[in-house]
Point group: none
Chain length 235, copies 2
DNA sequence: TTAAACAACTTGTAAATACAAGTTATAAAA
DNA sequence: TTTTATAACTTGTATTTACAAGTTGTTTAA
């Protein structure tokens, strides 16, 4: 017997099966007693495995019924955009790179506290403006510490999300983060960039995203025109 | 013995003690065996309670060491408030009930889609205004379907969060949700309630919170004065 | 035909027990 | 004095057993 706990092994098996569609969305998992028999475990052990799946939001247990497969759509914090009436997919999002990634020093007034490592390494800076149906709605400024990401300044970001590149090229995954939101009156620069009518307020977001790389955080400042669209998020 | 499970009772006790500072941050909880003896339970039951605390992020268990109290600022989605400079604890939040819970019909223009069950049951409606350091910052309107929550209109909400009452009295837990955020120009009513200077924009949030009770969702509309504070969230 | 009762499932809660594995302070040996 | 071993803790994993409670289809009685 391996040193991996039994409940963990069952969890991995069931998780894989759910992801691969062996158990379709909305269908029932085998009952706890069936799982006991099939994997030669006792009920507490099986339940431990199922508890983990519940925690992941992969199943939903109902007393007297069974374990229902859920396969959730989880976003990372607030990332997607919804129209005020109906949802607008990310595919309708066109991106302009205002400032291609450059390496520079951290600004003195940088709103987040930096670790020593981040401070020393300097930062990679970029600005983007995003359009929905031809109109600018999203202006974001990103700072990454200059570690783990060699040659990022040479990369093209055309039609590719920053997060996709970080994940695919550098194996950097977002684990979580924190953000601060305010409604503000935009200054002249923002007003011009987002083509705002006067007196139209703007949603302002500061966020810090933690990754699987120790000490590698992504810092973003976002200005969002919420006249015709809203920031949408699941949690 | 009440019909509330033992592990749940212990969970509530420990949770309260952690929140009230009986167990300070970083300190150790009594060991599992001590809790068994103190509350006359067996270890599986005690561990079930501790598991819930781990899930809440209130403790951190270390094998061979014990259960370390964490007391995080981690709320459900966006609920906590941070000062623009430093964090402001929820304890500085005073709540005024503008409209005590009443049972009424759902409004025609209700922004969310309702299930048939929710539609039939009618809704419980309440309004609150929250203050930080004497100034109103938070106006929220809540709609709950009138199921699972008998006699809620008789309850006092003085110094108690709606979520605490739902959890403790009705065993209703928030599992997740979705929300939509915008920056808006407030109308006269909101302006007056939040004592806003003219031209001060407001953060507007619509949220739907899903719970462990099938078909029981909580719908909130929030107006937030982000002049001196920001909405803060972890994920 | 219809409604109530029941049986056979499902998950939920709980006890009693055992041993494995990580941590820490103490006692023994170098 | 310093190092090592040990004992006494801690949480982690797992079995076995029992009954409660919710769901569903079937059988029985009206």
């Amino acid at each position: 017997m391996g040193s991996i706990p039994q409940y963990r092994q069952l969890y991995e098996i069931l998780r894989k099966h759910i992801m691969n569609g062996v158990y379709g969305e909305g269908s029932l998992l085998p009952s706890e007693n069936e799982l006991c028999a099939a994997h030669n475990m006792t009920r507490p052990t099986v339940r431990h495995a199922l508890d983990s799946l519940v925690k992941d939001g992969l199943i939903l247990k109902k007393q007297g019924k069974g374990s229902i497969v859920k396969k959730p759509v989880r976003d990372i914090g607030i990332l997607s955009i919804a129209g005020t009436a109906s949802a607008v997919g990310v595919r309708y999002l066109k991106t302009d790179i205002l400032q291609k990634p450059v390496i520079q020093k951290w600004e003195e007034s940088f709103p987040f506290e930096l670790s020593e490592l981040e401070q020393e390494a300097g930062c990679v800076y970029m600005e983007r403006l995003r359009f929905v149906e031809g109109a600018p709605v999203f202006y974001d400024i990103n700072h990454l510490p200059n570690i783990h990401i060699p040659r990022i300044t040479n990369r093209s970001f055309e039609n590719k999300s920053l997060f996709d590149i970080l994940r695919q090229t550098y194996q950097i995954e977002i684990l979580g983060g924190e953000q601060k939101l305010k409604a503000i009156k935009p200054d002249a620069k923002i007003k011009k960039l987002l083509q705002l009518k006067s007196a139209q307020p703007v949603l302002y977001i500061e966020r810090k995203l933690a990754t699987n790389k120790e000490g590698f955080n992504i810092y973003s400042t976002i200005y969002f025109n919420s006249e015709k669209h809203a920031i949408f998020g699941r949690f």
